[in-house]
Symmetry: C2
Subunit: 757 residues, 2 copies
Amino acid sequence: MYNLFEIDEWKIIERSFDPLKQKQAESIFSIGNGCFGQRANFEETFSGDSLPGSYVGGVYYPDKTRVGWWKNGYPEYFAKVLNACNWIGINVEIEGVQIDLATSQVLSFYRELNMKEGTLKRLFKLRLADGKELEIESLRFCSMHNEDVAAISYSLTPINFSGIVRLTSYLNGRVTNHDANYDEFFWDEVSRDINSSVGMVCAKTKKTDFYVATAMCSSFSDQNGLLDLEVKLNECELYVENSFGHALNQGEKYTLHKYISIASSVKYPSSELVDKSISCVKNSASLGFDALLHNHIGAWERIWDAADIVIDGDSAAQQGIRFNIFHLYQTYTGKNAKLNIGPKGFTGEKYGGATYWDTEAYCLPFYLKTADPQIARQLLIYRYHHLDKAIENAEKLGFKNGAALYPMVTMNGEECHNEWEITFEEIHRNGAIAFGIYNYVRHTGNRDYLKKYGFPVILGIARFWSQRFNWSDSKKAYVMLGVTGPNEYENNVNNNWYTNYIARWCIEYCLEIKEEVGEVHDLIISEEELATFRNIVKNVYLPELEGTNIFLQQDGFMDKEQLSASDLPLNERPINQHWSWDRILRSIFIKQADVLQGLYLFEEHFDLETIRENFDFYEPKTVHESSLSPCVHAILAAKLGKVDKAYELYLRTSRLDLDDYNHEADEGLHITSMAGTWMSLVEGMAGVRITESSLNVNPIIPKSWSCYTFQIRYQNNPLLIAVTQTNTELKNLGDSDLSVYLNEQLYTLKANESITV
Amino acid sequence: MYNLFEIDEWKIIERSFDPLKQKQAESIFSIGNGCFGQRANFEETFSGDSLPGSYVGGVYYPDKTRVGWWKNGYPEYFAKVLNACNWIGINVEIEGVQIDLATSQVLSFYRELNMKEGTLKRLFKLRLADGKELEIESLRFCSMHNEDVAAISYSLTPINFSGIVRLTSYLNGRVTNHDANYDEFFWDEVSRDINSSVGMVCAKTKKTDFYVATAMCSSFSDQNGLLDLEVKLNECELYVENSFGHALNQGEKYTLHKYISIASSVKYPSSELVDKSISCVKNSASLGFDALLHNHIGAWERIWDAADIVIDGDSAAQQGIRFNIFHLYQTYTGKNAKLNIGPKGFTGEKYGGATYWDTEAYCLPFYLKTADPQIARQLLIYRYHHLDKAIENAEKLGFKNGAALYPMVTMNGEECHNEWEITFEEIHRNGAIAFGIYNYVRHTGNRDYLKKYGFPVILGIARFWSQRFNWSDSKKAYVMLGVTGPNEYENNVNNNWYTNYIARWCIEYCLEIKEEVGEVHDLIISEEELATFRNIVKNVYLPELEGTNIFLQQDGFMDKEQLSASDLPLNERPINQHWSWDRILRSIFIKQADVLQGLYLFEEHFDLETIRENFDFYEPKTVHESSLSPCVHAILAAKLGKVDKAYELYLRTSRLDLDDYNHEADEGLHITSMAGTWMSLVEGMAGVRITESSLNVNPIIPKSWSCYTFQIRYQNNPLLIAVTQTNTELKNLGDSDLSVYLNEQLYTLKANESITV
């Protein structure tokens, strides 16, 4: 496999400047802190191909929907992740000539993303047209310690000349989205301020009225300390700058420190943003770059302590898994219940919307096992806050009595997707949201959450399912017509096994916890409704292949031409780039785990033989053209003892973006599928399972690895798991006793106790 | 039922000016001649709500496709019917004040579409702000005699004043499309010319390079004859004008005659258009308005002679059926094989594309029975010319070996629709095109056409079907997965009975005529392919409801909630305006005849009892939310002797636009469904059937009619049919003997002979 960038266990390293890789690199070297994020665009002016991207969590714009043929029920708009004020900008002029990597001669170039410390560094030498050579080093980070803060250290050394240099540090809010449907400009200025110490731009989004104040504080120093220069000011609408002119001496290093604070109305009252951002940026400046950096690194250290996975013997795998964990924590830290995990995080603007079912199905298990349960809880509360909107959404589609349909894609609880076969029919997402609550409870044991916040959501979802099933006289069972399962290479099918199964489970779970919840809620559930629930649970139709244990993906599945993915010519793959949509639809090929997604979620309901039979039936038909697919297959393969298959599937996901398999990293990274990679290691290789009653570990290890080590949290107790070719070590890092099944054998570990088996 | 306009057997009449009805009226009072057409926009400047529309047959623009989510195989563009040069414009200034019906006081207003003569007339009195009153009378037509010609007579009488009037006659090519996706301007000027006798604008469409030259010749006269006035000229890009100023006397009538010629590269070489249009308009002017009008009326007389339907005892029905016949002939006259019948004809720009399966399924039977067979033949030749494009289209979707898939919507043979469930899956259209050939042959007996032009088309279509079926191991039969039937309220279904049936018929018909065609064509058909064809014909799966004669619309149809349209609350109808798309899809409700469409086309294959059972099963489930639906049900109802039902369904179609049932006449008329109305009378009420071996008449008559009379052509022999409450008269108007089954009884009529039974 070709590696785009150098392999290093903790770093992503680029050693030469390749303008053709710039947009990929901008995505891969992105930094963020869960509150805002920034693509690895250059500080200095760059006229080459680039996708500028600075994103503030939760700030979106309702871009008018573009469709060919309108369908009733389509949302009017598509919530776009919004490109916000450019805060990295530093323009450099050497004796009046602006430097630009696209037009200068780049003598050397080094770019490094330090995942341990969460910093982006560049070091490069340029030769200008007139022969002047200079070296520039920049280091920047979005603080994990104070999530309103970012900082840049930008140093410049004249190599073979002395002369006048002008460094202009600016904020530019006149930015657009690359993917705007109607080329609209999304921001209005609210106010701006510029003086010799602080610059600030406060802007507001059109229509959605999000306010964002961005403040900067810039200082210029040489090796002897701060230079007291005359600062030139400049400003225009949505733009402010501080400009420093100085005569530099050959061989001496000069540094511009740029401190940034970003305050948005997602977090603070709009009226306070200007003051907040200015006082915060002043504090940062007085604290200084090194102290800020120190705090930032400390915060990352605490994250890595709990979330790191160490793989010995396979540097590429090691780098891959850390890259995934790093970007997940850059995207979401659980501090604000209004935020969620967009498919591209803060690394690109594609897709729009922050929240897909990816959150519950893939990201939630990651945060549940690697972080304080409070973080996972925020993801659940997010959906709890959107319950009213989900009920409205279901009403629009003709449902009633509090039935809730969560949107396929959302920013604020409203649906913003508009393909009928997805928007209206890919409703299994509702099941994943209910399952997320169940999953949270079994990981944390927090039944109080279930009562207060979980039940209303589960009831709304169960009501939706109970209305979405209809009785078939012909089958003498409840059927569900016109759905799209997780395998989006089928649309508008009847009786998708996965959807019917998870829907039935939701209703059943609702009935079960209703007993527990008792009269706590003022939700009125009639006896008649309960009877309907029970009746449905007893009579749901689940398609099966007669004479086998195989669950059929949907009605009519066996009418398809029975082929394997291995029958496909290589030049026709991926089929979604080569085949017309109808051909894909009527083929047997599966985009992503569908029946197997169900067997994964509800593993305990099935014996190993049934899982094996279905895996052997579906895996050869699966083309894994979704980044979310291989991980589920990897987990099941591992469970079935298919170590090579599990490893092959793991590899498909772990370096997906890093090696840009699908040639789309330029648009941003696949953030949510990164959690899938993590799952395929922890749940796949290590066989970690948390059920309602127990913690289980059933590890395997690929031949090429000597050892892998990580921690998980179970009911808020950290457990270290280290797997080698010969044994497995478990160590209870918490304060209370921990019972764990290792290879089906129960062990109870006291605080700090470890065993090796 | 509320009638928008006055009932008259030959005219549409409006007696007062209602600005709110203006856009509806603009559609309904449209005129055209099969070569170009014009909405009933006012000649004089009008600042009120209006949809200007002047369309030249075959001139389109490839407007860039707008979709939310791109699917492989979508066409890059959507062919738009193009608004072309405004040729009706006459600006009127009374002593410097421009008249405008939106701002003046309208004292009286009369508008009349004379369907017998094909003219649009207006007569109105205005009072201007300063109290001046004047009367204006205009008459215009698009010549049916010379299809490059139009003419306007525009008269003005000062009622209570004498004064200076300026009449400006202009051509304005700076027009846009209301529905342009990206607000583009579609025309470039090629040349223009203006002198005191002739004005001309030659424009060319961007991208498609269609050239259209529009020339005008204007003259101003009083009751004593032509006035020799100084003509002011004016011009700018795409615009020319002749302006006449004159002192008018109170009570005297002055007339501007404006002659128009339109020459397009759809018909003539581009280089000749300017000369052609100028010489043609000069000829028209020298011939004079009255002579042009006389020739035009004569041409309409010949059309009505063959195509009229006289209904005694029901003026509304009489007006309705003539309105439909009138607009069909205004849209298509069969003179140019590059033209076809757009769903809105020349009455609006909506939908784009000229050709749907409507042409073969609805319009072809109309022209076959009412006009020279040469006209229907042009419609067939149109598809023959597009065969290569249909093969390319199928190749794009992965088919091979000369398989042809005709587009859902086209202008030039290329697909220009982009909804996957339609574009890729509503493939039954291919069957209608093959059936059209079969239908032409049985009407005309022209087997020579079949050999030369019919067979290659049928073979391409049969090849498509043979590849589109796949063998189902599970059903032990050939199945067809992922289609949309005529009932577009189902998408991506398996084994749509209608599609499977017509596909099997196509393959069978291909095998049958291959014997007849023999070695005429150099199309190589392998024995293996023929064997596949035969194998498929023998083993096609056709879903049925066990224990009945009911054919199931598709797999899984009986899993739906079994409801009737009468169960729907009135405030939820039409469901396509009230229900979300997924709800419509999973409901049992049928948009338009689907299984019944098959029983209609292949009536001879089924006994009456089977037809009745299916009609009784499907009609209650059908909501008829397509204008193409009620006619098919009306025909079957009539066949089953359900006179009241047939009449109810007939009424639904015959005045659809005239009374604007669906509140959309402002966008243009439903031209193709007008042919369905005609069918529901001729094939429904009168029970006319032309099979391969015979002509059959089995009439019924609604209670409220005393008599209806019309002609049809059978193997180029005209036959008069008159049906009263008590008897039916048949009269052979042709030169040769005619055998006809009347109520299953065979009669042979010699030339000019008639019988009354």
